[in-house]
Amino acid sequence: MEFLLNLTIYFPLLGVLAFLFLKGDNAVKWTSLVVTSITFLLSLPLLFNFDVAGSATPQFVTEGSPILSGLDIKYLVGLDGLSLLLFMLTTLFGPIVILASWNSVKKSLVGYYSMLLILQTASLGVFASLDLVVFYVFFELSLIPMYFLIGIWGGSDKVRATIKFFIYTLVGSLIMLVALIYLGYNAGAATGVYQFTADWRFISSPEYTIGLVEQTWLFLAFALAFCIKVPLFPFHTWLPYAHTEAPTAGSVVLAAIMLKLGTYGLIRVCMTAFPNAFMEFAPWMATLAVIGIIYGALVAMVQKDVKKLVAYSSVSHLGFVVLGIFAFNTIAVQGAIIQMINHGLSTGALFLIVGMIYDRRHTRMIADFGGIAKKMPVFAVMFMIATLASIGLPGLNGFIGEFFILNGSFFSELYANKAYAVIAALGVILAAVYMLWMYQRVMFGPITNKENEKLIDLNGREIGLLVPLVIFMVWIGIRPVDFTKYSEEWVDTYITLSEEKSITVIENTSKEDIPNWTARFYNIDENQSEYRLAHQGK
């Protein structure tokens, strides 16, 4: 199984190697499809053999030896409850994005499909790595193929979009790198064995705690990087650009997989390693999340370009995920995790759908469409299902995530204010407004543009790549237990661990040792026993 996990991660690279010996566009396309399909199949045994009850411990772990003596930086991969579903989502999307590009990409196919395959390995690597340096390497590696995908195969304003996307995310990443180095030395010192360690298992464990001052800065540095990636309001402006200029497959991977690296990082690192800062900053993060939910929805509402609309809707949807993460209780964090999957499925599907109509009409402007349902009934149904999933209709996946997140946020102790959940819930109304309005203008009414008379409905390939997504939308909607069970134990365990860890830190801190602002921010009084009593009482 350990070998299988590694094989799954690196198998897509095999396709890139094969391209060296292949001639002809079809060979490249078919190789990519076969390779990603096999990757998906290879990942299935991981899912079936995953020990649900033990999801809090990484499974299928491969552990290399430290690359330098004293510096505990090592190849360390495995899957746990947090990463498993995202890992599976990534392998599922592999063949789908290949199929989505089948006829729409026509220039330098070898380069294009190589980039998609490398991106696949990089994304799988991020979710599987348990050493934070390895995590960082994959995190950065994923940027590069995306850079080329947008920069070479993108739309008219692709260069500007690429540079903005790349530099913006890179700025965040570099700040994270600094923090990571500090964290590594700090944790290394705590082991007593190494100078430096980036082993997440140690960093997240109860044995390792970080002082309040360091936690604050480390949290901010990591959170900034992740929030840019999410993107959380107000760090979101690169996203609409990148999405509109990216080729369909690029948008799909960006939305379905890469944005999740941000929210995933917030849980994986910020929640487990810096619990005090995490908890104190929660209301602030929730405020940004709620602003993002409403703001993203309102801006989405007035977009004239379908793709931009979907991009802004991502800002709104990922606001929900962040809100769930910082609510810091099992329901909300579970909601955040399942909502990451949901957003991948429904927004991924929406970008695919936009791509299909773009392939036919070479426009994405809402005003250019109208009355398409008549010409493309199957397309209309697929589009409708994705729309309904996106607006959180009960019975489909989106509702499950939103309901968990809102319900958990409603009684979150960290927020201690119903307003967060209530205002966020208004986003559910707004989502219906902008999605249904867009759907109506694109699909309903009479056909006013002659070009649209010639439209033909989806072909087998297009139906085939949407159907799996639709199946999962319905499946998660009516049997979410089949999915949430994988992370239940993980979330329970790490919420408890993080909470205990935060108490330990507070108990071991006295007012004299820390600067005034820290004491004020974390409410440190002279008398720590009161704090202890208050927390044990609940």
Partner: protein, 672 residues
């Protein structure tokens, strides 16, 4: 699985199966779409068999053994939140299921004829079955979240069916409007669900209602209030009712099934289900009663001024729903449910009758087109009708019966249910909380009852009596009456069945005081005894003579309404009489006719400002300020770089100069 579980699974599952068969086959196989008799049969049996099963369960229901619970599987299980896909068969859900599957079956049958020429026949029946599936989830659910699934599910079907003829932008506007107004209500409902879960840690009805003391007074108020807001969306009450009249854009059988008989009564069902909680908050009950009565009279006044046959019926529905909410607010849950049932009969009958009329009017238009005449008229406008009783006797007779029933003439169905509502409202006037308010509401309701009888007979008389106006009104439509015809039997059978039910439906709830007066046992009100384990009714304390007096008074009011209508509209003079009312009421009439300008109000104060703000402020802010800041940071970096490059000249002598400067600096620091 035990046998009840299998039966419940069949009730729920068959409509879903019908939806899947017709929907998927129709979508992917062109040739399937023309197999209309097959499609119709599948769809009809998908509702009729569940009806038969429901009847079986109803007949075998053992009230002493209590509710039957049927769990299919676990839906949600995380962090202490456990929700099952599980159903509950009890007195309330059985009654509702009988109405939904019974009336649903009749309307499915009717639709075969009504939709026979539509190319979207397969789609229509797929949606209709999906609706029944969602509605059954709503009423049979044993927990709030599954109810909510049905609640939004019926909203979706309503959206799909209102916008069924989606190439017409106005129709798809109406569909969207229905969905969005409902969403506003659903938002409040959702917050209520969060509050309930926070208080009791479960969303199961049994658990919630068994732990009512776990809620604080404030929590009860807010939960009840928010759920009521949810109900005002689905059940079209002030302030969210404006979507329902527009919803008439859908096919008429949809209006009958969804927008009259079943879906719109979900709010009443919900509050009845939660009635033990509502009676704990007299404040919310009063709000419910006030909104109900207000909606009833507002909609009734609008109905007087309308010319669209379905429009009048739509406002009438809103008004009757208002009556039901008044009942809920008066603690008369049984009476509310009673009115749900009788209303389902007579209003479905009226809508199907109007469909039959519209069907024939459209037929006239098509025939005229076939004759090469370029004639266009609104087939729903009653000013083009008149005298139809000669040509469509079955439609006329059933329509008239249903009109008498809704007008509240004894002993038809509407009389008993409406009388009970009025009586309970009066009864609350003698209660401890806000008695004077309930007296006032009784007055409002009585006026509304008069208006109901009046506008319904105005509609019936204008449509069916007098002479056929179309040939005189529209040029080129001379002798158009030769094309008028009665509808086929698939349409008239449901009409007669519903008319029959409108006659006898009231007998399930004859007030007990009638029996008491004649020395009986005092339990002739079957419905009240049946539903008593569920509905937390506030008992009547009026004396028997007072009840008689109220009943007789209510009858007189209804008769007065009918009499006035006959006097004004009985002699083929609709236009003169409308003008007379208009001049009598002046500005007020304008307000009614313009529907109190609520649509314009919402558009002007909420919709347009939000869109304009988003478009002109937020979207610009996003581009100029937020992204502008990002670009400014990049600009500063670039500027710094362009300045610093002057140092990086590549000229060796410059570097040597800076080197020396550095050495001097360091030395000076060391020395001093």
């Amino acid at each position: 699985m035990e046998s009840p579980t299998v039966l419940v699974a069949l009730i729920i599952g068959l409509p879903l199966l019908g939806f899947l068969i017709n929907g998927i086959s129709g979508l992917f196989w062109q040739s399937f779409r023309s197999k209309k008799s097959f499609i119709g049969t599948i769809a009809n049996f998908a509702v009729f068999i569940p009806f038969l099963i429901t009847v079986y369960l109803f007949l075998n229901f053992n009230a002493e053994a209590g509710a039957i619970h049927a769990k299919l599987f676990t839906w949600i299980d995380t962090g202490g939140l456990t929700v099952d896909i599980a159903y509950q068969i009890d007195q309330l859900s059985l009654i509702m299921a009988l109405v939904v599957t019974g009336v649903g079956s009749l309307i499915h049958l009717y639709s075969i004829g009504y939709m026979s020429h539509d190319p979207g026949f397969w789609k229509f029946f797929a949606y209709l079955n999906l609706f029944i599936f969602a509605m059954l989830n709503l009423i049979l659910a044993d927990n709030l979240l599954l109810l909510f699934l049905g609640w939004e599910g019926v909203g979706l079907c309503s959206y799909l069916l209102i916008g069924f003829w989606y190439t017409d932008m106005l129709k798809s506007d109406a569909a969207k409007k229905a969905f969005l107004y409902n969403r506003v209500g659903d938002f409040a409902f959702l917050v209520a669900i969060f509050m309930i879960f926070e208080a009791v840690g479960s969303l199961n009805f049994d658990v919630i209602l068994a732990n009512l003391d776990a809620f604080t007074g404030d929590a009860v108020f807010w939960i009840a209030f928010l759920m009521f807001i949810g109900a005002t969306g689905k059940s079209a009450q002030i302030p969210l009712f404006v979507w329902l009249p527009d919803a008439m854009a859908g096919p008429t059988s949809v209006s009958a099934l969804i927008h009259a008989a079943t879906m719109v009564t979900s709010g009443i069902y919900l509050i009845t289900r939660m009635s033990p909680m509502y009676v704990l908050s007299p404040e919310v009950m009063m709000i419910v009663a006030v909104i109900g009565a207000l909606t009833a009279i507002v909609a009734a006044t609008i109905a007087i001024t309308q010319y669209d046959i379905k429009g009048v019926l739509a406002y009438s529905t809103v008004s009757q729903l208002g009556f039901m909410f008044l009942a809920l607010g008066a603690g008369a849950y049984t009476a509310a449910l009673f009115h749900v049932i009788t209303h389902a009969f007579f209003k479905a009958c009226l809508f199907l009758g109007s469909g039959s009329v519209i069907h024939t009017m459209e037929h006239v238009e098509h025939k005229l087109h076939d004759k090469g005449k370029d004639v266009h008229f609104d087939p729903q406008d009653i000013r083009n009708m008149g005298g139809l009783r000669k040509y469509m006797p079955s439609t006329y007779k059933t329509f008239l019966i249903a009109t008498i029933a809704i007008a509240g003439i004894p002993p038809l169905a509407g009389f008993f249910s409406k009388d009970e509502i009025l009586m309970h409202t009066m009864n609350m006037g003698f209660g401890e909380f806000a008695g004077a308010m309930y007296f006032l509401l009784w007055g409002v309701a009585t006026v509304t009852a008069f208006l109901t009888a009046f506008y319904m007979f105005r509609l019936t008389l204008t449509t069916f009596h007098g002479s056929f106006k179309l040939p005189k009104k529209v040029k080129g439509a001379e002798n158009a009456e030769q094309y008028l015809h009665e509808s086929p039997s698939t349409m008239t059978i449901p009409l007669w069945t519903l008319a029959g039910l409108s006659v006898v439906g009231g007998f399930i709830g004859i007030p007990n005081f009638i029996a008491k007066t004649f020395g009986g046992e005092g339990t002739i009100n079957w419905l009240a005894s049946w539903i008593s384990p569920i509905a937390a009714d506030i008992p009547l304390t009026l004396s028997i003579p007072a009840e008689w007096a109220l009943m007789i008074f209510a009858t007189l009011v209804a008769v007065a309404g009918v009499y006035t209508a006959f006097k004004m509209y009985g002699n083929d003079n609709q236009e003169v009489s409308d003008a007379k009312i208009s001049s009598r009421f002046g500005g007020l009439y304008q307000v009614w006719k313009e529907k109190y300008n609520l649509d314009e109000l919402y558009e002007g104060t909420v919709v347009h400002p939000t869109v304009r703000f988003s478009d002109r402020v937020l979207a610009v802010f996003d581009l100029k300020v937020i992204d502008g800041f990002v670009n400014a940071v990049a600009g500063i970096v670039r500027l710094a770089g362009s300045l610093l490059r002057y140092i990086q000249t590549g000229v060796t002598s410059n570097y040597a100069f800076f080197l020396i400067l550095g050495v001097i600096l360091v030395l000076s620091l060391l020395l001093f």
